[in-house]
């Protein structure tokens, strides 16, 4: 059951990073960490022997899904980074507390 612990720690770290880091690149990295942790949890749980006895889904399917999720997370990260590069080029801002143009003004 170690993977549950690992995945939980990774997810917590990711969440902490998303909420606390002010650098957008770090935030993006933390987001990926959360996704990765969740994927680890999924794949790990799929390998539990107690589940296959219940006649559930094939662990192979889940593992394939895990891979797919990794690929999609990478694709999404590419979109996010592209957005960040575009913003950084035009405004030079890369920190979340600088990117507050779109908001309600009191």
């Amino acid at each position: 059951m170690n993977f549950v612990l690992v995945a939980s720690i990774l997810f917590g770290l990711g969440l902490y990073g998303v909420l606390s880091r002010r650098d957008v690149i770090a935030v993006l990295a933390s987001v990926e960490l959360m996704l990765g942790a969740a994927t680890v949890m999924l794949v790990g749980l799929a390998g539990l022997p107690s589940l296959s006895s219940q006649g559930g889904a094939d662990p192979g399917t889940i593992e394939a899904t895990g891979l797919l999720l990794l690929v999609m997370a990478a694709a999404a990260a590419a979109v996010g980074l592209a957005l960040l590069v575009a913003i950084a080029r035009s405004t030079g801002r890369t920190r979340t507390d600088e990117l507050t143009d779109v908001r309600d003004r009191p």
Binding site: V31, L35, L42, Q54, G55, A76, V79, G80, I87, V102
Partner: protein, 495 residues
């Protein structure tokens, strides 16, 4: 012909998807206008095919992950129809973007993905589709390439990715602790053994869907995107996926979350969860929309309130499924109409700054646009004789009949309150004197319109808005004569 063949069952999605691919290729050759036309036509064909299939009795389970029946086809028809209308409304703006054809391809993919999500019965497929929709949504938001749009897209991306992470975690927990399956129906059977796990899984999954719907407290992206994205993109992002997400949410609510309800001690009470979210969304959306000066941002907040009305339906249960679909569809239609008006104002050499005040005097300079806008605002409020009224009536009426008096009151009060800002738009358009940032008149010479690349179709957003307003009025009036039942029956008795 074997009507059970998978390609036949999925033909609407395939058509829309193929249209998107074709648009991508055409965009590579810089045939932007052709690409946009192709996506519009393919969306229309897909809508027609769905409507035709909806009238049949095809019911099909594909690879244990998709369940497709006439109800779903009806939902698809709405998704693709709205997609065509939104693309038409944003066509001019798109055709002037450097990769306009690609943007229209994104629209096509978005509608295809939304259609599939409404038919999914497996969480694995749903998580993949949600991610696809999200990535397309970020791209669409940023496609206009203004700094505001890019910022909105980046923030939307961060929030959306966190929600996806939560969803995947929920999926993992569900799979591991609720019975080793990703099929929603099988998971539902496992909830009795682990009620607290079921609650956590539900909350995690719910947060991703609430984000798609734009419900409080996962709404923060909505005002930004509505304000920043260009009208076609915004109307697509907010309209089309919501229908798919709402349909899928009913399935999850009924099959995964509902089994334990009834016992007072079970921690998972979907009615409670949805009621809290609904009331919070109604209050927050309405209050937030009240003081906005930007038209798109106002619509963004009002969308939060509208998501609240849909959540009322989820709280009441499966019997409101047809009503909720009607509510969401007419909302989408009215929002698309409003965005098409915004698109028409943005088209050409407009100096419109996107503010509500900047629309003053529209009634005099472009009466048809003003009329469409007024119709869409009245429909969004839910005034009788406009489509929005029937959507709200069918949800609130059932909520009242089922004894959810508190939710009904909240919904009705919210709707009444919403006229404060919807009506303000009408007042500005019809009664306020144009300020200095006023909407310029339509171009004086046709040659002027022809000189700019791709601006030849300047009238398209206006046409889209008038079409949308016309449908809103027709749906609003027809039930007076034939009753509401046929309209609701179109959606079957629920998935």
């Amino acid at each position: 012909m074997n009507v059970e063949a998978w390609w036949f069952v999925l033909s609407p999605v395939t058509i829309a998807f193929a249209g998107g691919v074709a648009a991508l290729i055409l965009d590579g050759w810089d045939r932007r206008v052709v690409a946009i036309v192709v996506t519009i036509i393919s969306a229309l064909v897909a809508a027609g095919a769905s409507a035709w299939l909806a009238s049949g009795s095809t019911s099909f389970v594909l690879a244990d992950v998709l369940l497709i029946d006439p109800t779903i086809y009806a939902v698809w028809a709405l998704i693709f129809g709205l997609s065509a209308l939104s693309t038409l409304g944003g066509a001019v703006r798109m055709s002037r973007l450097p990769a306009g054809g690609g943007v229209s391809a994104l629209v096509a993919f978005l509608s295809a993905g939304s259609a599939l999500i409404s038919a999914s019965v497996d969480l694995l497929l749903i998580v993949i589709l949600i991610e696809v929709l999200a990535v397309v949504g970020y791209g669409l938001t940023a496609s206009i390439r203004t700094s505001g749009a890019k910022e909105a897209a980046l923030k939307y991306f961060i929030q959306g990715s966190v929600a996806t992470g939560l969803f995947v975690l929920g999926l993992a927990l569900a799979f591991g602790l609720l019975g080793g399956s990703t099929e929603i129906a099988a998971l539902g059977e496992g909830t009795a053994q682990a009620p607290v796990v079921a609650l956590i899984v539900s909350l995690l999954i719910l947060s991703a869907f609430a984000l798609k719907l734009g419900a409080f407290p996962f709404h923060s992206w909505a005002p930004d995107v509505y304000q920043g994205a260009h009208p076609a993109g915004a109307s697509l992002i907010v309209v089309v996926p919501k229908i798919g997400a709402l349909s899928a949410m009913f399935l999850i609510a009924e099959v995964l979350m509902r089994p334990l309800e009834g016992s007072q001690t079970a921690p998972l009470q979907p009615t409670l969860l949805f009621s809290v979210l609904a009331i919070a969304s109604i209050i927050f959306g309405n209050l937030g929309a009240l003081r906005q000066s930007d038209f798109g941002r106002m619509l963004g907040y009002s969308a939060v309130a509208q998501a609240g009305y849909a959540l009322i339906a989820l709280a009441v249960g499966l019997i409101t499924y047809p009503g909720a679909m009607l509510l969401m569809t007419v909302y989408g239609l009215a929002a698309s109409t409003a965005f098409a008006v915004a698109g028409a104002l943005r088209a050409g050499h407009s100096s419109w700054d996107g503010s509500i005040r900047g629309m003053s005097g529209l009634a005099a300079s472009r009466p048809w646009l003003a009329a469409s806008l007024a119709v869409s605002m009245l429909s969004l409020t839910g005034i009788p004789l406009f489509a929005g009224f029937w959507g709200k009536l069918s949800v609130f009426g059932l909520a009242a009949a089922e004894g959810f008096i508190f939710l009904t009151v909240a919904g009705v009060l919210g709707s009444v309150f919403s006229f404060a800002y919807y009506g303000a738009v009408i007042r500005t358009v019809y009664f306020d004197q144009p300020s200095d940032t006023r909407v310029p008149d339509t171009p004086t010479s046709p040659t002027e319109a022809l000189t700019d690349t791709g601006v030849r179709y300047r009238a398209l957003p206006g046409v889209a808005s008038v079409v949308g307003a016309g449908v809103l009025v027709i749906i609003g009036v027809v039930p007076l004569f034939i009753g509401l039942t046929p309209l609701v029956r179109f959606f079957g008795i629920g998935g």
